[in-house]
Symmetry: C2
């Protein structure tokens, strides 16, 4: 166990924070609520971006870029939308600094006040639909399938590295369609892309479902989400896809002529996934030794460490190591050889465990003699010595196995911590003593949902797409229910 | 000539603006001075990003992300820096909106005023060096070689799409070093990376050199730049690399212990290249038919257009076209097949010329019969018919040739428009009647430089690295000079 990490089972929140800091992923900045994403953390984001971007393009989307600033008046046009975001906006009011009368201090120049205040985008529906208005006239202009990689700002009062920060990085898709059906199909397609990404790349099993009305995106008719279970028994929403109906088209007067010549408002979707997923990645898989990063998202997949006592030994080992590195790189892996002489091998072992490199290859003078290497996997910490000539047939399948094992472990954890409950006393007991996902009946009313939230801090994470029809009684009100929904406390 | 474009030779500025709009690269947004980068324009930026990012990583750099906001007090710490940027800042003063008394209007909540105003980063030296302070203690922590891809805001009063916008996208490198020599070496290395990128990818010949004191980055001891010549005879600065000395280390008190145990301030560089380069790309190569994009940065390199009269013909041609497409894609090219039936081939020809696709392959029924295709290149507009079986040996070298030809054409233009002048009357005459680069002697004083600027609007673009020692007299003051410098009017 890494001594400088708080024990995960004793204080999960502190363990998480320690880990983010010690593994050099991110840190708090001097600006309240804003983080610095350090190179180790950003490298994970780059891997996430590369995979998602590929998936977006494979499903017909293109990238574009819209302004950071949203005029206040735009923001106000969609009533539910402004209600959802008004309380947490960063607002630009001036555009110049100047020296004060003493000439010693820099102050905001009062004469450089903007006529209309600008909001830093918390999300871009309004500025984008104001542009789409000029782009869309006929059904021939549809669909528009655009994604944007951007920073957004929500002035959160309580922030945590990656999970909730005033500024964060994300992608936001904004699509425009001729029909309701096509927009719903797109909304569904993108939640499936997110789920596929979460399961295949993040090694994170997720539950896809509808959000209840209370939990919907501000301005959406329907929100689909993927929900994952963290190791402390709390849920984390890892991506959302919104069916916006004609709300934004009406707010910005975006109409088109359909094939029959009839004017209609355009149908919209939006969908986003943010740097928050890095928090999910950490919380779902990591342990008391540090990060566990699934090989498909690991910036370095294999670390090679030489064990040597003299510069002469190092020189012999380096030739051996460089050959291994080159061979593995030819097989498409990302490999690093750490030949620094200012830290002992044991220190390096711990450090790369902390940083979550999936596979470690250690080579010492005896390995060189026997033409063997020691291979250790980060997920199980198990070690095995193999002939050097087998490295290229051994390591790539091992990375696949690690990827699968991390997923299976998370899936097993979720299964063990998903509770089908029918009694309110059980609901309370499980929440307080075990946590996890609770599948329970709900009467479908916001009122009940709100009461449950007030009494237990648990919310409806989603109504799973695959929750089967099942007659039952609401766990809180006892009123009739047609299917179970997913409750949990959440991040 | 594309009829809807203003003639380049009649009104260059209007031609440029028409082209950006008609080729669907970008447009002005509802927010003053901010542009929307449309998918066609953003696709070029993605190509630029991919190549530069690869080059940065190959030279040992890693990416990270620092906050959008800079506390006003940080901004003020480096005196020259704040002087340079204070007049064009977007300033966040509040963090909440609310309903007014009538409940009908949304206003800024006066009770949500920030204690300290936040500046939207116009560049990130201050926020980054405030972080580096905590990262650097010993020479072992150096060098730090970090790059950031980000948006920045400079509240420009007169804006033009890509060339000068209030918000723009860029990358900014910020490095920290133990010695002056190492920092200067880095500054030079990165201007060389920019020059290599400009010449090899943008097909844009550039002159590398030092900026005069007047034109240096606010806070730098030295600024190196690459300068390119546009087709209207004006210069454009396409990238800069700054040697910052110890200025920011002193402003943020960043000291380190060197190998001998002595405390010293850290040495710094920063370097940036922005979406402005897309403007340079357009202005350097394009013509009255539209964009000319060098193949290495073209989002689509080959467009295939079928010429057909009936759906049956189209079906036969499509099988042929898809085979060509697949073969070329296997060779690593980006190919699009446009089989839309709502536009005539002639319309498509013009449209892809406008959008600058380097190579067009047209196939008609007779081609199918003869197993030939017609290949047209965008740079020269020349067409040739070749046997279909030669496509894969013909097209890749053709793209290389187009890349080279675009570069050579720009280089020839620059040579023809570079004037070595020694008389002030010639200087004035050339500037007013021909434009271009002027290599002339200068006495080295800011005073003379300023007077030349006031009288002619020409500035010293740079003191070229390779300008040979040559005794001469300043073209304006007649005082002695040791080498020629590069003058031009500029964007």
């Amino acid at each position: 166990m890494a001594k400088f990490l708080t024990n995960r089972d004793e204080n999960y929140a502190q363990w998480y924070n320690d880990l983010v800091i010690k593994a050099d992923l991110a840190e708090n900045s001097a600006v309240r609520g804003c983080m610095v994403i350090k190179p180790n953390g950003y490298a994970i984001w780059e891997k996430i971006q590369a995979e998602l971007d590929r998936m977006f393009k494979a499903t017909g989307h293109v990238n574009a870029y819209f302004p950071l600033f949203i005029p206040k008046s735009f923001f106000s046009r969609e009533a539910a939308h402004v209600k959802g975001f008004a309380k947490e906006c960063a607002i630009v009011t001036h555009y110049r600094l100047k020296n004060d009368e003493t000439g010693k201090n820099i102050i905001v120049d009062p004469s450089a006040k903007l006529e209309e205040e600008l909001i830093i985008r918390p999300t871009s529906e309004t500025i984008i639909w104001n542009s789409y208005k000029n782009w869309i006239h006929s059904y021939r202009d549809l669909p528009i399938l655009i994604n944007q990689w951007a920073n957004v700002v929500r002035w959160e009062m309580r922030t945590r590295l990656f999970l909730r920060t005033a500024e964060f990085l994300w992608q936001e898709g904004h699509t425009a369609h001729a029909t309701r059906e096509e927009a719903i199909e797109e909304t569904l397609k993108m939640i499936n892309v997110y789920a596929e990404f979460a399961e295949n790349f993040m090694a994170l099993p997720v539950i896809k479902g509808y959000k209840s009305e209370n939990e919907r995106f501000a301005g959406a008719l329907d929100t689909y989400a993927i929900e994952a279970l963290m190791q402390d028994g709390k849920a984390l929403q890892a991506g959302t896809s919104h069916f916006l109906g004609q709300n934004f088209a009406k707010a910005f007067d975006v109409q088109f002529t359909d094939k029959t010549g009839k004017l209609d408002y355009v149908w919209a979707t939006s969908w986003g996934l943010s740097t928050r997923t890095i928090g999910a990645l950490i919380m779902a898989h990591s342990d008391n030794h540090g990060l566990v990063i699934p090989p498909k998202l690991a910036p370095v997949q294999v670390i090679i460490i030489p064990i040597f006592k003299s510069p002469g030994q190092l020189s012999d080992l380096s030739a051996f190591a460089e050959k291994i590195k080159t061979d593995l790189e030819k097989a498409g892996l990302t490999v690093k050889y750490d030949d620094r002489d200012n830290n002992k091998p044991g220190w390096k072992f711990s450090d790369y465990e902390l940083k979550g490199v999936p596979v470690r290859i250690a080579i010492g003078p005896r390995d060189l003699e026997n033409m063997t290497v020691e291979v250790a996997r980060r997920d199980t910490l198990k070690k095995v010595t193999i002939p050097a000539k087998e490295i290229n047939s051994f390591i790539p399948p091992l990375l696949d196995e690690i990827q699968k094992n991390i997923y299976n472990k998370a899936l097993k954890f979720r299964k063990e911590n998903t509770h089908y409950l029918d009694k309110w006393s059980d609901f309370l007991e499980i929440l307080d003593n075990q946590g996890g996902f609770i599948m329970a009946h709900w009467d479908g009313t916001s009122e009940t949902e709100e009461k449950i939230k007030q009494e237990t801090k648990a919310t409806i994470r989603c109504i799973p797409f695959d929750s089967p029809a099942e007659e039952g009684k609401c766990i809180y009100s006892g009123k009739p229910s047609e299917r179970r929904v997913l409750f949990a406390r959440s991040y």
